[in-house]
């Protein structure tokens, strides 16, 4: 019995010692929490950043801004936060979770109404959504999804929120809204223009009113984690570079010039 315990303990200790011996050059990690609409574009930007900075590993985490805000408030290891709406960054700022002077507006985007590619319902505007033929409309959950919040603002502005309330299917993030429309299980959905561009099986039928599109801003900020911030700040600076700008352009985002 004694020798068995000794063997087990020594194996555990050996494993511990060997796993503690890292590589010779320290690899730093930058954890980026970004809104779901940024999935493809940030993925490409991160690949480029890692090629130029081989000693940095960028780990991306995509979800609805509300979810990301929850995670950060509860101590998740996020270094940089890119939200699709200022609201969540405001909330974090009021809780002193944002490093001063690192909050900057990065991108603009447009909100659009999409329908399945093979839709025959003839929806051409937001007001058409109140027609009898439209049974289900997908939007993000307005309380946590930026695109859902903007959708609610649009419906309120057109005065159609009450009429649509019973037809809404709420999604946990904007890409899920896109998928619902792609699968034709809903008749229409509200997403960002950049999301619609990714998909081959949806049609954009209407744009959000200008005054709402003007409010669509993606702020970026470094999170106050107490850890060293040099790498996070370097990454944030890269997002404003020309190289990153070209990639944002490609996907249809508008980079805000500073």
């Amino acid at each position: 019995m004694n020798s068995k315990y000794a063997l087990i303990i020594s194996i555990v200790l050996l494993v511990g010692v060997f796993s503690g011996m890292g590589c010779s050059t320290p690899v730093t990690t930058v954890n980026v929490s970004a809104a779901s609409s940024l999935t493809d574009v940030i993925g490409e930007i991160n690949a480029l950043y890692q090629k130029d900075n081989p000693n940095v590993t960028v780990i991306a985490n995509f979800a609805a801004p509300g979810t990301l805000q929850q995670q950060i408030e509860n101590g998740a290891p996020a270094d940089v936060f890119i939200s699709a709406s200022p609201r969540q960054v405001d909330a974090l700022q009021s809780k002193k979770l944002i490093v001063d002077n690192t909050r900057k507006d990065l991108l603009c985007n447009k909100v659009v109404l999409i329908v399945p590619g093979d839709s025959t319902l003839g929806i051409k505007s937001f007001n058409d959504l109140t027609g009898d033929a439209v049974k289900k409309v997908a939007i993000g959950d307005p309380d946590s999804v930026a695109a859902g919040q903007y959708a609610r603002d649009i419906f309120n502005q057109y005065g159609i929120m009450e009429a649509l309330k019973s037809r809404l299917v709420l999604a946990g993030n904007v890409r899920q809204v896109l998928q619902y429309v792609e699968s034709s299980n809903v008749d229409a959905g509200v997403v960002f223009l950049t999301d619609a561009k990714i998909s081959k099986s949806v049609k954009v039928v209407a744009d959000a009113p200008d005054d709402i599109n003007k409010k669509v801003v993606y702020p970026v900020a470094v999170i106050n984690t107490g850890r060293d911030r040099t790498d996070a700040s370097a990454y944030e600076a890269f997002l404003f570079s020309n190289q990153a700008g070209a990639i944002f352009d490609k996907y249809g985002f508008t980079v805000i010039n500073h």
Partner: protein
């Protein structure tokens, strides 16, 4: 349309309907399989238990492919002008599918425990198959069958993944308690989430107590 407690009413309606369906079909299929001696026995058994071992998202995806606009059952229902995806019946379908294996396994086990010579004695005395089932088999198997129903109920009320995929999140219509908790947390509404967690805990504890009660009532068969 939505009140604070609407997920509770939706969950209760869904679970009672699903458990009723599972109860009847589970007993029927279990009774048949208990006495089925054919070569396909293990294969059929495997299919019936599949939703229990598959991840709920796989079950959800399967149901979505079946009932979606391009799926076989979806297209059939479309002929009658009905869609199942993102509707309340979808919550019943997912709850039934995931809880069926539990009802089936418990009921079949209970039926197999019934001494066939007792059933045969009833038959020799002239009882029809139906009468034998109602008056002899089911009462003897009852503790196991009831336990199956309670387990099916508990599983149905906790169903989340497949429900979210097939029924979606429609507050006031398809938002069951687990789905409501998930979105309450995502929205940062912790008070709401906690309220529903407490409600579910209460329901589950009540179910487990019922389960313990039924298990204690098992008949012990004494053979001479």
């Amino acid at each position: 349309m939505e009140s604070l407690l609407s997920p509770l009413w939706i969950s209760l309606a869904t679970v009672f309907t699903a458990t009723a369906i599972t109860f009847i079909t589970g007993i029927a299929v279990a009774r048949w399989m208990a006495r089925y001696e054919g070569r396909m026995r293990n294969f059929v058994d495997g299919i019936l238990i599949l939703p229990l071992v598959l991840p709920p998202t796989v079950v959800g995806l399967g149901l979505l492919m079946l009932f979606g606009k391009n799926g076989p059952l979806g297209q059939l229902l479309l002929l009658f002008g009905n869609t199942v995806v993102f509707s309340w019946p979808a919550t019943v379908i997912t709850a039934t599918v995931v809880s069926f294996p539990l009802m089936y396994m418990n009921a079949r086990g209970a039926f197999e425990q019934v001494d066939i010579s007792i059933e045969n004695a009833a038959r020799t005395l002239g009882a029809s198959e139906w009468k034998t089932f109602w008056r002899i088999t089911l009462p003897l198997a009852w503790p196991g069958v009831a336990a199956g129903a309670v387990m099916a109920f508990a599983r149905a009320i906790g169903e989340f993944g497949a429900t979210l995929m097939l029924a979606g999140y429609i507050p006031g219509r398809t938002a069951t308690i687990p789905v409501a908790i998930y979105f309450a947390v995502q929205d940062g509404d912790m008070d709401q989430a906690l309220l529903f967690v407490l409600i579910v805990l209460f329901i589950v504890f009540a179910s487990l107590s019922a389960l313990a009660y039924f298990k204690s009532k098992s008949y012990k068969v004494i053979t001479a």
